[in-house]
Symmetry: C2
Subunit: 453 residues, 2 copies
């Protein structure tokens, strides 16, 4: 492929530029870094222009979006690529082996905050576009949509998408913010779970009581909360809320069979999970439990006295944070109603309960047999020398269903980081040779999509 040689010749320059981008500490959650976030947006727009794209920095109520576009090609399909240029805070500096905003390469890994999530992955998108433009031109219309608020929940992105849906109209939408299933196993992600996040607060009396004076004769908010939470799970690791599984769609037996042949590395996965045991819903494998089955987790508990030693108190309030991971076709609003009904039913008399709905995002699932996935599959196979695996992701990206629903385009999530990349932790890393492989994949995908249409 023509662009490959162009890419290969310019790798050193790209690496220098990647280091420049990484050195801008574009931490979106920290107001002290707001200027850095803006500087990263400007840097990207400028780099897009050098590549031969037009680029606009779009202001929002928060951090700006950067939108790059290739020269219009009448009659060709349009591919929109989403990514983000903001990063997580570095966390405790002493946990890093090299400074988080000073990129270092050790043993083929680029270590830095943003190395995997998501700066290298968006820069390789610009590199691929530049290589295509410089060597015969892009065979399709390309839109690069990079936001600066992914790490703070993307508050401006979905409204922007809605408002500009005609300008952003695309035939395919790629999310370039993920990882491969394993080293040497390039991956097509076709589903992500949704989320429904709640806070439950119980009150049993106006103030805390003495456990000697009252213990055994009045409800205790902490006891009641533990009992309530325990009713949410039933035998076999199932969620015991009436109607909860009504909307859970099956996944094709063929897909599950394919997954069983994946060679999922249980030991490595457990190591990544801090040596946790494996547990969950009976009848499903670990990947299935995370990818295609819903989950209910208590995220926080607080009641009574929690300092050192003892206090003989009957707590009058107790708080739990809890969240569901949802799968197609579950709806966070319906789950909220089912939970509310359950909580009302199991709360004993004399206990006030407040249920707060803190977040709701729908799950996303695409048909992995469609032309977009076929084109991406052949592009990956050509760039990596091995057929990709089709997998899902247990987390939630509101952008996935938003792209699908707003643009009406099939969505694919494809990325080149590797498991254990420490995306939000210290020593975040990215396999440096995946910059070139990722860009080569994109060059092939452009052509495969152009031929598909």
């Amino acid at each position: 492929m023509q662009g490959d040689a162009f890419l290969a010749q310019r790798l050193e320059r790209w690496q220098r530029e990647l280091f420049e981008l990484i050195r801008i500490p574009s931490i979106s959650t920290d107001p002290a870094h707001a200027r850095d976030v803006g500087a990263a947006a400007d840097w990207l727009a400028e780099r897009m222009r050098t590549a031969g794209l037009t680029a606009v920095v779009e202001p929002t109520a928060g951090h700006p979006l950067v939108v790059g576009r290739s020269p219009s090609l009448e009659g060709a399909p349009t591919l929109l690529v989403y990514g983000h240029y903001d990063v997580q805070p570095a966390g405790p500096i002493e946990a890093w082996h090299s400074p988080p905003f000073e990129p270092r390469i050790r043993d083929g890994r680029l270590y830095a905050r943003g190395a995997a999530d998501d700066k290298t992955q968006i820069l390789l998108q610009i590199a691929a576009a530049e290589a295509a433009i410089a060597t015969g031109g892009l065979p399709l219309n390309l839109i690069l949509l990079f936001e600066g608020e992914e790490e703070v929940g993307s508050p401006s992105l979905v409204p922007f998408l809605q408002e500009r849906r005609h300008q952003l109209a695309a035939h395919y939408a790629l999310i370039a913010d993920s990882m491969m299933f394993a080293p040497g196993r390039p991956s097509l992600i076709f589903a992500m779970r949704g989320i429904a996040y709640f806070e439950i607060e119980l009150r049993t009396s106006a103030y805390d009581l003495h456990s000697g004076q009252y213990g055994g004769a009045v409800p205790n908010a902490a006891n009641v909360l533990a009992g309530l939470l325990a009713t949410l799970h039933g035998p076999g690791g199932r969620i015991a809320i009436d109607g909860f599984y009504d909307d859970v769609a099956d996944v094709a037996a063929g897909q599950r069979e394919e997954w069983r042949r994946l060679g999922f590395d249980e030991a490595a996965w457990r190591t990544g999970a801090g040596d946790a045991a494996l547990s969950g819903e009976t009848g499903f494998t670990t990947p299935e439990r995370v990818w295609i089955r819903p989950a209910l987790d208590v995220n926080g508990l607080l009641s009574g006295y929690t300092g050192p030693g003892k206090k003989t108190v009957l707590p009058c309030t107790a708080l739990a944070k809890l969240s569901f991971r949802l799968v197609p076709d579950q709806d966070p609003e319906r789950v909220a109603s089912l939970l509310e009904a359950h909580v009302r039913r199991v709360t004993p008399p004399g206990v006030d309960v407040t249920l707060r709905n803190l977040q709701g995002n729908r799950p996303w699932r695409e048909n992995p047999e469609g032309p977009f996935f076929r084109a991406a599959g052949s592009a990956l196979e050509s760039a990596f020398g091995v057929a990709p695996v089709r997998v899902a992701h247990g987390g939630t990206m509101p952008i996935a269903p938003a792209l699908h629903n707003t643009l009406g385009a099939p969505v694919l999530t494809m990325g080149f980081a590797l498991p254990g990349a420490n995306m939000h932790g210290p020593d975040e890393w990215f396999p440096i040779d995946h910059f070139e492989r990722g860009a080569r994949t994109m060059l092939r995908l452009y052509h495969a999509l152009a031929e598909t249409s």
Copy 2:
């Protein structure tokens, strides 16, 4: 009775002296008030000497004990009276209607920190002794044992009792640190619950995990803790630990019948409990649930994220503080073993559990039909004009079983504060006329005990 007139003539002087004692902020938990605690001990020893007793301030590793003794009376029985001169911190000053260490009388109530707990109640013991000594002499041997560490868990008292058990040998032991069942209802307390206090900590992985990446496929410490705590209670408000009720002794049907005729004021009790609902073990009344039945309360819960908003975390640890109130013949050590066995049984595989035993104190129960109680009953009836009620107390005083076991003497708890006295809260109060009534009760008790022997 001779002493009555003596008491009545000197009430103004006693009140002045009581105010002096209350103005000493003898807050035992606050190192900044250590001198005040010592000053209160010296004040009491001096006042005992004025009353005609010998008095020694006994140093301990913490705050001193004050031991007063009447002139030895060969062949007469010995009554030991226990009380304490230390107080709780005042708490938020703005919650008080008058300064906590500036005693004020309003509507017949003395308001101050220590008014009910326990300064007025120990001073009336000295007043009664003085009145007896001044009007013909005490008919028995009296030992006053006042500690300065009751509000910090009495760390020095039981060792002191053990070490000096021969010097403190007594035929009767009175705990002068309690309240009456209701206004106009003088009370003999014959039982208190014990306590067994634990901390449970669960660990499911080396660090917190992301709920998207792992939710549904690994144990979650908060989920597991809620489930574990829920197994501790069964139907009918019973504690569902194998063998837990084996050692729970019945209370005579006659006693329970007597209690049903007490006219327990449920509405007032609920008001005191911050409008809590009534709940608990089926088949028992509210007073019975608190007085003669064990209880298990979660005192604290902590796990995961508990700040504002949401965090999609799978907590790797979860902590609960929980405590049992025990009744005769339950043993805190045996309860610890039963709980440990239960926790091991219900903890799922792959979850590390640590059970810490933070406190264990035995319950106490005396035979309320014995001569000590008969003597005290007739003394109360004579001083208050109404027969006393025999009741129990749901809290725990380690001194009660310690007096019983170390001295081998029957123990009675009798006090003159009233319900709602705010012993550890703002606006603590004591019915001021109960100073004289309480001292009159003691004068009668001296004689009744002298005649009993």
